[in-house]
């Protein structure tokens, strides 16, 4: 099949960048989107041009490394699918496809489609953990977790931290990511004691990084390859508001 790619090319952080059009007359519909970029890069290298830089690692939709905005939608048009799991058969022969990096102040572009997502790491470092000695696993059923709670925590824990929520949000907000982390830790017994403090610290770090605020448009939920739900943002709001509004003063 034939595709025309309009790809964002940017030499480095300071380069203003531009769209460059590449014709791909003979791609296999069963290739993944990243494989198509690999093929294109092989050709660029043969022609002595700079290959397109893009992030990837597992190529099976679980690591969260890949990520590009394809035709105006992070990870492309298929719901619940990362760019590495998106196949060219999703498109029609002759389609024109626009490929851009995540665009957010907190995710500065490094090169072409690669952005710096270390803001997410700093949010995790601010509170995305459980401060208890780990040691060996507890005995089975020593810490009962109701099935529904475990399922809900698992739904939130699916987040792979790819940043599609930020990329899709009209406000460049990271609320869905932070909400997923706050929820999955806060729902389980080990993470419960710190849950309000955690929400407060992670949200404060998120704000410091320069992400936008939520206007409840639902774009992030639609873009999320792991189907994290808006419901978790409400849960984070709840934990944060309680942790700020109703926090007990420190004992002297």
């Amino acid at each position: 099949m034939r595709l025309t790619l309009h790809v964002w090319r940017q030499k480095g952080p300071k380069d203003p960048g531009r769209i460059v059009t590449y014709d791909m007359p003979d791609v296999n519909p069963d290739m993944s989107f990243l494989e198509a970029l690999d093929v294109l890069n092989e050709r660029l290298i043969q022609r002595g041009e700079d290959p397109i830089a893009f992030d990837h690692d597992c190529r099976e939709g679980i690591c969260g490394a890949c990520g590009m905005v394809i035709n105006g939608i992070p990870h492309g048009p298929r719901r619940a699918t990362t760019a590495c799991q998106l196949h060219l058969r999703t498109f029609k022969d002759g389609d024109e496809i626009w490929v851009e990096p995540w665009r957010a102040r907190a995710f500065p572009t490094i090169k072409d489609l690669v952005v710096d997502r270390s803001a997410f790491d700093r949010i995790i470092a601010a509170g995305g953990f459980v401060s208890v000695p780990t040691g060996s696993a507890p005995d089975g059923n020593a810490l009962p977790v109701p099935k529904k709670v475990a399922d809900l925590a698992m739904d939130a824990a699916q987040c792979i931290g790819c940043g599609a929520c930020v990329a899709s949000c009209p406000n460049g907000s990271a609320m869905l990511f932070v909400a997923a982390k706050v929820s999955h830790l806060g729902l389980l017994p080990q993470g419960r004691p710190e849950r309000r403090d955690r929400a407060r610290k992670m949200v404060e770090q998120m704000d410091r990084e320069g992400f936008g605020a939520c206007t409840n448009t639902g774009e992030c939920e639609a873009a999320c390859p792991k189907e994290i739900r808006l419901e978790f943002i409400a849960r984070m709001n709840r934990d944060f508001l309680r942790g700020t509004f109703a926090e007990r003063p420190e004992a002297e």
Binding site: G72, R103, S173, G212, C214, T215
Partner: protein, 220 residues
């Protein structure tokens, strides 16, 4: 920083303030509509004029509620502008190609419908509260002021347009406020969204009825 400072400083705290002030304004919108619909009672204005006098009877209640509303409007606008500026800064470079999948038209235009409603409120206060923008204003003559004010076609049109904008604003705001305050439930949130849509349509229809019927000469 004190807890209040931390709350105000955060995106979520500001959004909670928008939601709480939004609820207050929402309550006012409904009460105001119920009061104003009395113009439709064909009694030569007896009921609505009595209602007007009742509102002015107690200066404490009148100024108390005006103060609460004013503070709400002020906080609602202040936080919305601060958040909107932050949101704009969060994406300095726009996409070359952008597609919307979930974001409703109403949700993407809150920062257009909101400021236009604010402009309308200024006009509306000058029209029926102080009388500055009214050709033949007489204090406490609610019925006469409404009829003569809204028989002017462009004034009526401004009211209709503003109420449609208000409808879109509360269509999104009416459910968004719950989410902002941390209230979400897989069973009730979908109902809440539908409920907000129904309430938005009812509010718009109710308010539009007043200028429309007066302008058409059905209420005199």
């Amino acid at each position: 920083m004190s807890w209040l400072g931390r709350l105000y400083d955060s995106t979520i705290g500001k959004k909670a303030i928008m939601a709480v002030t939004g609820v207050i304004l929402f309550a006012f919108i409904i009460g105001h509509l119920a009061g104003n619909l009395q113009i439709l009672i064909p009694d030569g204005g007896a009921r609505i004029d009595a209602y007007g006098r009742f509102l002015h009877e107690s200066p404490v209640l009148l100024w108390g509620s005006r103060l609460v509303l004013l503070a709400s409007v002020f906080l609602h606008i202040l936080t919305s502008v601060q958040l909107a500026l932050r949101n704009r800064r969060a994406r300095p470079q726009p996409y070359e190609f952008r597609e919307w999948r979930e974001a409703s038209y109403a949700s993407r235009t809150m920062m257009i419908s909101g400021p236009l409603i604010a402009l309308f409120v200024v006009y509306h206060l000058g029209h029926f509260t102080t009388g500055h923008f009214h050709g033949s204003f007489e204090p406490l003559k609610v019925h006469d002021n409404m009829i003569s004010g809204l028989q002017v076609w462009w004034a009526s049109a401004a009211y209709v347009a503003a109420m449609i904008l208000l409808g879109t604003h509360v269509y999104h705001g009416g459910w968004s406020l719950f989410q902002s305050l941390g209230i979400s439930h897989p069973r009730y949130t979908p109902l809440l969204k539908k409920g907000a849509a129904v309430v938005a349509v009812l509010i718009t229809l109710g308010y539009v009825l007043i200028p429309a019927t007066i302008w058409m000469g059905l209420v005199r």
